[in-house]
């Protein structure tokens, strides 16, 4: 799982049928929680109703499909929690959370 912030939403009419009715969010991963192969924002399916500016936990891979109730969706990332608060240990708590790529998205939803 990774921690990231919702920075956008995507609409698509023409898509794989399994994505019908699914909400697609653009997620900017926090640097420390991003998988090593991620180099940019990612798109995740949202079944919880997260909005732009909120911080979320995104699960990746097969667990993401399972969390959506189907293993037959061509999906590799899903929002599995909307973050209320983040608490960090003291050695990291003094430093601000940074985003992958360095540029902070708009909105300061969570200040740990």
């Amino acid at each position: 799982m990774i921690l990231g912030r919702v920075v956008g939403e995507v609409w698509a009419t023409k898509k794989h049928p399994a994505l019908d009715g699914r909400k697609l969010l653009i997620i900017a991963p926090y640097l420390w929680y991003a998988p090593s192969h991620e180099t940019a924002n990612l798109v995740a399916v949202d079944a919880l109703g997260a909005g732009i500016g909120e911080d979320v936990v995104v699960c990746m891979g097969d667990p993401a499909r399972r969390s959506l109730g189907s293993t037959s969706m061509p999906v590799e990332a899903a929002v599995c929690a909307i973050v209320d608060r983040v608490e960090l240990s003291s050695d990291r708590g003094q430093r601000p959370l940074t985003f992958l790529g360095g540029r902070a998205p708009a909105h300061d939803a969570v200040t740990p």
């Binding site: 920075v7 009419t13 898509k15």
Partner: protein, 92 residues
């Protein structure tokens, strides 16, 4: 999954048997990374698309015989992001 823009098409007369009849498009995400993905939705050059990656995604969409792991799963109509700009600035 990532947002990307279609920048070109790829043809090859001689290809792996699983790619018979497949339409291959080169897509570029805003960080400049390019991959070639298989397209069954009819995307064209300039279209913004959603690209999913992985063997499971490939198996579920285009079949196990396709020798590619990147699949175009949606053609994007619109993007609403925090800065109010498009896919390129969304960094996806």
């Amino acid at each position: 999954m990532r947002l990307a823009r279609v920048v070109g098409a790829v043809w090859g007369a001689r290809h792996a048997s699983g790619l018979d009849g497949a339409k291959l498009l080169t897509v570029e995400s805003s960080n400049g990374g390019r991959v070639t993905a298989i397209d069954r939705l009819g995307a064209g050059v300039g279209d913004r698309v959603l690209v999913a990656h992985g063997t499971r995604v490939r198996d579920l969409t285009v079949g196990e015989t396709v020798a590619l792991k990147d699949v175009i799963v949606a053609i994007v109509d619109g993007v609403d992001d925090a800065e109010g700009d498009g896919v390129d600035e969304a960094g996806a």
